[in-house]
């Protein structure tokens, strides 16, 4: 991170696209600014009071036609810019399947990350180069925002729901991580480093981390402790769906809709089970709203997700 530069480091695929758009905007708005400033300057000099420039009759076309001309001209330019920006955004909309999924929890004033194998870190994030990484984030108190300038990415992290962000890092190195949404006293100190490593290095790093119980295992314990297994276990007498393989598949609902069982869906199933009732089941599942906190939710969701693997096996 050198001391003086005019362009931020670029270290993700999205960064290149954003920079291109930014340069395009710079050129176009630079041209418009030059045009406006140039005209102002020329008119001011030429038509200053007492100058001998002719003022006579205004040509007729200079009135309505010019006006309509530049109005439509600007409108089309604006629509073009919208199209460019919109298309760039849509290209980066969905993460590729199989992206490395890292859970991030924000709280006043620190970032906690948790890797799929259970490795945890605080105010730091290690990611492999060239691999798609998906961050699933939630906050335990107020709204924060995960901001890595070198990736040109930012996403608010909100209590009570999961937000996602994905990227593919292109350059190994250390980059700054900021909290960009004002979150109280130490907002300015809520930051850290994102380290992009070669995939081998990342694998080595992750393996070397103290192996704690991972999210899914904790979730499994909660699953029993909260009584979920009473209904959802294969041996249970209650008629409830088996959760193995539930994650990611398309679910038919009692009211005829079909939706994908993503994190948000699982989360909703736990908090407001009566909203999306699975076809063929009675809406008897109680809501766990208030009984589970954000952390528990993350654990339960991770557990349900982990069951996907078992079904495939």
């Amino acid at each position: 991170m050198n001391r003086f530069s005019l362009w931020p480091q670029a270290a993700s695929e999205q960064a290149a696209r954003v920079d291109l758009l930014f340069i395009g905007l710079l050129v176009i708005s630079g041209a418009i600014l030059l045009l406006v400033a140039g005209l102002l300057l020329v008119f001011c000099l030429r038509y200053r009071r007492g100058s001998s420039a002719p003022r006579g009759l205004l040509p007729g076309f200079l009135r309505r036609d010019v006006e309509i001309g530049w109005t439509t001209g600007t409108l089309f330019l604006a629509l073009f810019l919208f199209w460019w920006a919109g298309a760039t955004q849509l290209r980066a909309k969905d993460p590729p399947a199989g992206a490395l999924e890292i859970h991030v929890a924000a709280k006043q004033w620190m970032w906690k990350a948790r890797h799929p194998n259970g490795a945890r870190e605080i105010n730091a994030l290690h990611v492999p180069r060239g691999e798609a990484v998906r961050l699933v984030m939630t906050s335990q108190d107020v709204i924060h925002s995960f901001f890595v300038p070198a990736f040109r990415l930012k996403q608010d992290v909100i209590p009570g729901r999961f937000t996602e962000m994905w990227f593919r890092a292109t350059e190994p190195g250390e980059y700054r991580l900021f909290c960009a949404e004002f979150c109280g006293t130490d907002h300015a100190r809520m930051g850290g480093t994102v380290t992009v490593m070669q995939p081998e290095d990342y694998a080595r790093w992750a393996a070397a981390q103290p192996q704690e119980e991972n999210l899914a295992e904790e979730g499994a314990r909660l699953f029993t402790a909260l009584g979920c297994s009473g209904c959802h276990a294969p041996a249970s007498a209650v008629h409830a769906p088996l959760l193995a393989g539930a994650y990611g598949r398309m679910v038919h609902l009692a009211d005829g809709r079909t939706i994908r069982a993503d994190e948000a869906y699982i989360r909703d199933s736990i908090l407001q089970p009566k909203r999306d009732v699975v076809a063929g089941f009675e809406p008897i599942m109680p809501s766990f709203e208030g009984l589970v906190d954000q952390g528990d939710l993350q654990r339960l969701v991770a557990y349900v997700q982990s069951l996907r693997g078992e079904a495939a096996r």
Partner: protein, 560 residues
């Protein structure tokens, strides 16, 4: 009726018994006045104080940001400084400034009325404003608030440790004052226009005030409600936005920006009006494309209600919602482009005089264009994702609000100063201040674009060292800017005592407000004026003013 004879019929100066400044004396005659001109001056006194209080917050921040470490302010103190700066500057300075000072003074004069439609309501709204201001002052003295001017939940409802309730109440109360003035302006414009003054003969400043008032009336109540919700949640634990009980903190942002985006147009539309008056007068030309200018104002104020989501591109709203808001933001930029081009074209074949108000106006056009164009960067979703909540945004809005609206305010104040006080300001000093403001502004805020793009987040009082260069530049520029804002206070005060007496129409302008003496009599016009032509009749239609000499213009109306 010949405009020239009509003008002659107007005395330059009213007698002491007529002038609104001297017709009555004593403190009570000011504090209980229902004269819109005096109320405008009351507002001016209050708002000037708020500007410097808000400015003091900026000064504190700029000193703190001189170095990357925290040396002057603690984290909490800094957070309170920018919150207070934002709250005061937005609700107690910029939103009221042009409408309730210049607008209050000029609207009845410009349409040939004796006063606003509801003079007592006008006075009441000043008292409401003062009550709100007192609450704001209380907030500051009690220790301040630390939520940002945006009051995001759940920080403001559950976690902030400042005086959120007092601050929210202050803004809430100020809203009533705004609504009262807006209702007054709307009714006045509809029902008190002079005979012959049809809608499409109204000066653009009146149009701008009218559109602003409509936006105020429809947007401000939403802010009032959302503040009430915050108040209820924080004070009584009524869970509206509480995620633990099923509430959605992002819903707050929707409601807040539904107000606050239209609010930015509340701040800029009156400036558009002022600039149109200044440019035409000093270029001695009819404004180019009058009807397009009017439609542009209306377009901005209507579409402005539909773009609030562009403040929430990273809040987790769906990509398609973001794209829709992005599209509408681009669409709302087009009428601003129309305005910029029309002002520029108004100069074409003019007889341009570079008096201080014109310098402010030219500065406005340049700075507003830069601020507006960077608005397009922000409206582009992928770019905004990178620069949102960084200094890029801070630079964007200061370019429009400080470089734009505040310049327009100073320009308008300078332009109408003789009308308001009957005295001419010292021209040389005023030009110097205008030029200094332009350059001081550039030094202060241009570096913010660069550091914002480099990734410097906003609302940070400590920051990585690589950004220090830019912060030092900005802080240094702020010194020049502060001087440029203080200087007019000096020469305006000087002019009150030693300034030359102004004639009724020192700038040879066409508006009705110049068809009465300076300062105007209590009843505005000795004889009710009538209007027989459109605005800005500086020269016959379809020709420019002749090359060498100035042709005597035809005023819009006069006291027949």
């Amino acid at each position: 009726m010949s405009g020239i004879t009509a003008e002659r019929a107007v005395p330059d100066r009213p007698s002491r018994a007529d002038s609104y400044l001297t017709v009555e004396t004593g403190l009570a005659s000011w504090l209980l006045t229902t004269d819109h001109k005096r109320i405008a001056l009351l507002y001016m006194a209050a708002i000037t104080v708020f500007f410097f209080v808000g400015g003091a917050g900026a000064v504190a921040m700029r000193i703190e940001l001189f170095t990357p470490q925290a040396d002057l302010l603690s984290a909490d103190a800094y957070n309170r400084a920018f919150t207070f700066h934002g709250v005061i500057m937005v609700w107690f300075f910029l939103i009221p400034s042009i409408p309730v000072i210049l607008g209050n003074f000029l609207l009845p004069l410009m349409i040939g009325a004796r006063d606003l439609a509801f003079p007592r309501l006008n006075l009441i709204s000043w008292y409401i404003f003062i009550a709100a201001g007192a609450l704001a002052a209380y907030t500051l003295l009690a220790g301040g608030v630390d939520t940002g001017w945006t009051f995001y939940t759940p920080l403001s409802t559950a976690f902030a440790n400042g005086h959120v309730l007092a601050a929210a109440t202050a803004v809430f109360v100020a809203g009533f004052s705004t609504i009262a003035s807006a209702v007054n302006f709307i009714v006045t414009t509809h029902l008190l226009r002079a005979p012959g003054l049809t809608w499409f003969r109204l000066p653009l400043f009146v149009w701008a005030l009218y559109a602003t008032s409509v936006v105020m009336v429809l947007a401000t109540p939403v802010l009032a409600m959302v503040l009430l919700l915050i108040f209820a949640e924080r004070a009584f634990g009524i869970p509206i936005f509480d995620p633990l009980r099923g509430g959605d903190p992002v819903l707050f942002q929707h409601l807040f920006w539904f107000y606050s985006h239209p609010a930015v147009y509340i701040m800029i539309l009156p400036s558009f009006g002022v600039i149109s008056e200044l440019v035409t007068c000093y270029a001695r030309r009819r404004v180019f494309g009058y009807s397009f200018m009017v439609y542009a104002i209306l377009w901005i104020s209507l579409v402005g209600f539909l773009v609030w989501g562009h403040h929430m591109f990273v809040s987790g709203q769906s990509v398609f919602a973001s794209l829709a808001f992005s599209l509408l933001s681009f669409v709302v930029a087009v009428p601003s482009a129309i305005k910029v081009f029309n002002w520029t074209a108004t100069l074409y074949r003019g007889q341009i005089v570079f008096d201080a108000p014109m310098i402010y106006a030219l500065g406005f056009i340049g700075l507003f264009t830069i601020g507006g164009l960077t608005g397009l960067f922000l409206a582009s979703v992928p770019v905004d994702v990178h620069v949102t909540d960084t200094y890029f945004v801070v630079a964007h809005f200061h370019y429009i609000m400080v470089g734009g609206a505040v310049s327009a305010f100073y320009g308008g104040l300078t332009f109408w100063w003789p009308k308001m006080t009957g005295r001419l300001y010292p021209e040389g000093w005023a030009r110097f201040a205008a030029v200094m403001m332009f350059f001081g502004f550039g030094f202060t805020f241009f570096p913010m674009f660069i550091m914002g793009f480099l990734g410097m987040p906003r609302r940070y009082h400590v920051y990585p060292e690589e950004f220090q260069v830019w912060h030092v530049l900005a802080s240094a520029g702020a010194v020049i800017l502060a001087a440029a804002y203080l200087l007019p206070m000096g020469y305006f005060a000087w002019s009150l005592v030693w300034g030359r007496r102004a004639s009724a129409n020192p700038w040879d302008a066409t508006g009705l407000e110049w068809q009465t003496s300076s300062p105007p009599p209590r009843e505005n016009f000795l004889v009710s004026p009538a209007v027989d032509r459109g605005p800005y009749d500086y020269h016959p239609a379809h020709t420019g003013p002749p090359s060498m000499e100035r042709e005597p213009h035809r005023p819009q109306g006069g006291q027949a």
